[in-house]
């Protein structure tokens, strides 16, 4: 079953077209939604939650139509907004318990789930203190916890790493990966930073000005290029000569060599050549294309 699918989804506001004929499907796992600010990411999320009617086209979340089954979708989906949304004078525990009840959990279950989920996002003793005194990283964790507390089938995370320092960013990304992999909850995560999604997503959708630029599995995005990087301690030139001799395409790349791969035997040849020449092999790495390059390509920049 598709986690979500849209068909010619269009949303026009009086002055701007936020989504323009977007057709996309995603399966389970972690899906990244990439686009610059104003590309239509938040609008798409609001439509998927059934809170904003599309101008044209349609969308389904977990097989439920967004225009007619909004309430059912919101029962099964968690949402973490981009903006600050936490009252400062209540504790994280109190807020998350209350929001669990707003999702329909009975009182006792709400308490248990809130305690569980706050532990999973890494809030310990501080969860009993008022949120007003929390750091940005802790607030982001509370926002994530409230999205998870009712054990949704899918969570929509709008720019979860916004405002975090590099370490907080890493921790948040690791948490998102865990949610997708270990918790078995599908994730749609938006970001305007392409590099960070590469680390956690199974599938990436790139949109720009409300249009689909590309949607594919992460493997295809960062598909292995047909070359390997070879680095040896000394004797780079000798190795290059030997490989050329054997009929392989070799290009120097700084202190390293880029060797064109024609098949598995190329790798064997590199191994054997270094061994024969008595060289110390430091690196033998497949070159990878990064999401940024794809985005640049697709955008025609």
């Amino acid at each position: 079953m598709h986690i979500l699918d849209t068909e010619g989804l269009t949303k026009r506001f009086p002055t701007v077209t936020a989504l323009d004929g977007l057709t996309v499907t995603t399966g389970p796992g972690v899906t990244g939604l990439v686009g610059a600010n104003g590309a239509g990411k938040s609008t798409l999320i609001k439509i998927l939650l059934g809170l904003l009617p599309p101008t044209a086209g349609g969308a389904r979340v977990l097989g439920l139509d967004v225009t007619t089954r909004g309430a059912d979708i919101r029962r099964l989906v968690g949402y973490m907004p981009e903006h600050e949304c936490l009252p400062p004078d209540v504790s994280a525990t109190e807020l998350v318990v209350h929001l669990a009840r707003m999702s329909g959990l009975p009182r006792t279950a709400a308490r248990e789930r809130a305690a569980d989920v706050l532990r999973h996002v890494g809030l310990a003793e501080e969860r009993y203190r008022p949120i007003g005194g929390y750091s940005t990283g802790m607030k982001q964790r509370v926002k994530l916890a409230q999205a998870l507390v009712h054990d949704p089938k899918l969570i929509l995370l709008d720019e979860p790493t916004n405002g975090l320092d590099p370490r907080g960013r890493d921790e948040m990304l690791a948490l998102i990966r865990r949610i997708g992999a270990e918790f078995g909850i599908s994730v749609l995560v938006t970001s305007h930073l392409l590099g960070e999604l590469e680390r956690v997503c199974d599938h990436v959708i790139v949109i720009d000005a409300g249009r689909l630029l590309r949607s594919s599995a992460i493997g295809e995005f960062t598909q292995t290029t047909r070359s390997v990087t070879v680095e040896v301690d000394e004797g780079t030139q000798a190795l290059a000569d030997r490989l050329v001799e054997l009929g392989h395409g070799v290009a120097p790349h700084g202190r390293m060599l880029l060797v064109e791969v024609s098949g598995p035997d190329t790798l064997d040849a590199i191994r054997d050549a270094t061994a024969d020449l008595g060289l110390c092999l430091i690196r033998l790495e497949r070159g990878r294309q990064r999401i940024e390059d794809v985005f640049r390509e697709a955008a025609g920049v």
Binding site: A71, R75, P81, L86, H98, P106, A109, G122, H150, D151
Partner: protein, 284 residues
């Protein structure tokens, strides 16, 4: 903290309750908020002090009934006499019900759940109504219980008590809807408090002045209309019309159902204002 992460994720397969449950839970949550329950002690100070002040005249009345063997304060006049306390309670506590969710943009967290905006606003109005009603009904009931126990000569004033309880409910709905509508337009709590109290002061201070001015101009009928500008006297006029009680204003009120019609229109206007305010807030 790595050991904390080692506890595996558990799915929830228990019951997921429907709208009735969530709306009730939100109402109770808001009601607790009005009285500062589950909040620091300083949040309880204002509501509970005002509630205590509301009960004082009832206790004094019981003392009068017990010691002097005559009726104390009237049930029908309780709300009008204590109107300043009720108004301060409304001004102080209405913003706590609606302002934080608007100011700190918590609303999307509700709306991304099965809660609809109508249920949200409805729960808030009901919570504020219950709080205000408790403020009025508790002293009335204490006083009535006292009257029954003391057993004064003559029949107990049951009809007047019931009438005051029913009109008290109408007053609570009117004040709650209006107070919340004003408070929701001013997301800053302090500003909300100030605007509700300012509006009340305007309505209570200007009314007697208008009344005496019109009276001295010899326009008795118009003068009686002036009382209807204040919510407490307006609802008292409904009480006079329905239960035939003694007016708690100088010179009485315009007769007939006109006061009731005004109350209903005002409640409708306040609810419409709330609906518009929240429709705008929801689309943010």
């Amino acid at each position: 903290m790595s050991e904390i992460y080692d506890i595996g994720y558990r799915h929830y397969d228990g019951p997921r309750l429907g709208r009735g449950h969530t709306t009730r839970a939100l109402t109770v949550h808001s009601l607790r908020g009005v009285f500062g329950l589950g909040r620091p002690a300083r949040s309880k100070l204002v509501p509970f002090s005002l509630a205590a002040i509301m009960v004082l005249p009832a206790i004094v009345s019981i003392a009068i009934m017990a010691l002097m063997r005559r009726a104390g304060m009237s049930y029908s006049g309780y709300a009008v006499i204590m109107q300043a306390v009720v108004a301060i309670f409304l001004a102080a506590q209405a913003p706590t019900v609606v302002a934080p969710d608007l100011r700190f943009r918590v609303l999307p967290l509700y709306l991304s759940r099965p809660v609809t905006i109508t249920e949200y606003v409805g729960a808030k109005v009901v919570a504020m109504t219950v709080a205000l009603y408790a403020l009025l009904a508790v002293p009335l009931t204490v006083m009535f219980a006292g009257e029954l126990l003391i057993d004064l000569p003559g029949p107990p004033r049951t009809k007047e008590y019931v009438g005051a309880m029913l009109t008290g409910l109408l007053l609570a709905v009117l004040l709650a809807a209006f107070g919340l509508a004003i408070a929701s337009l001013t997301p800053r709590r302090g500003l909300g408090v100030a605007s509700v109290i300012a509006l009340y002061l305007l309505a209570s201070a200007s009314v007697p002045i208008m009344y005496s001015t019109l009276l001295s101009a010899g326009n008795d009928a118009a003068a009686r209309w002036a009382w209807l500008l204040n919510p407490f006297w307006l609802v008292d006029a409904v009480q006079v019309w329905v239960f035939g009680t003694t007016p708690n204003s100088e010179g009485g009120y315009p007769g007939g159902p006109v006061s009731f019609v005004i109350v209903v229109l005002l409640i409708a206007a306040a609810v419409a204002a709330l609906a518009l305010r929240y429709r705008k807030a929801a689309s943010r």
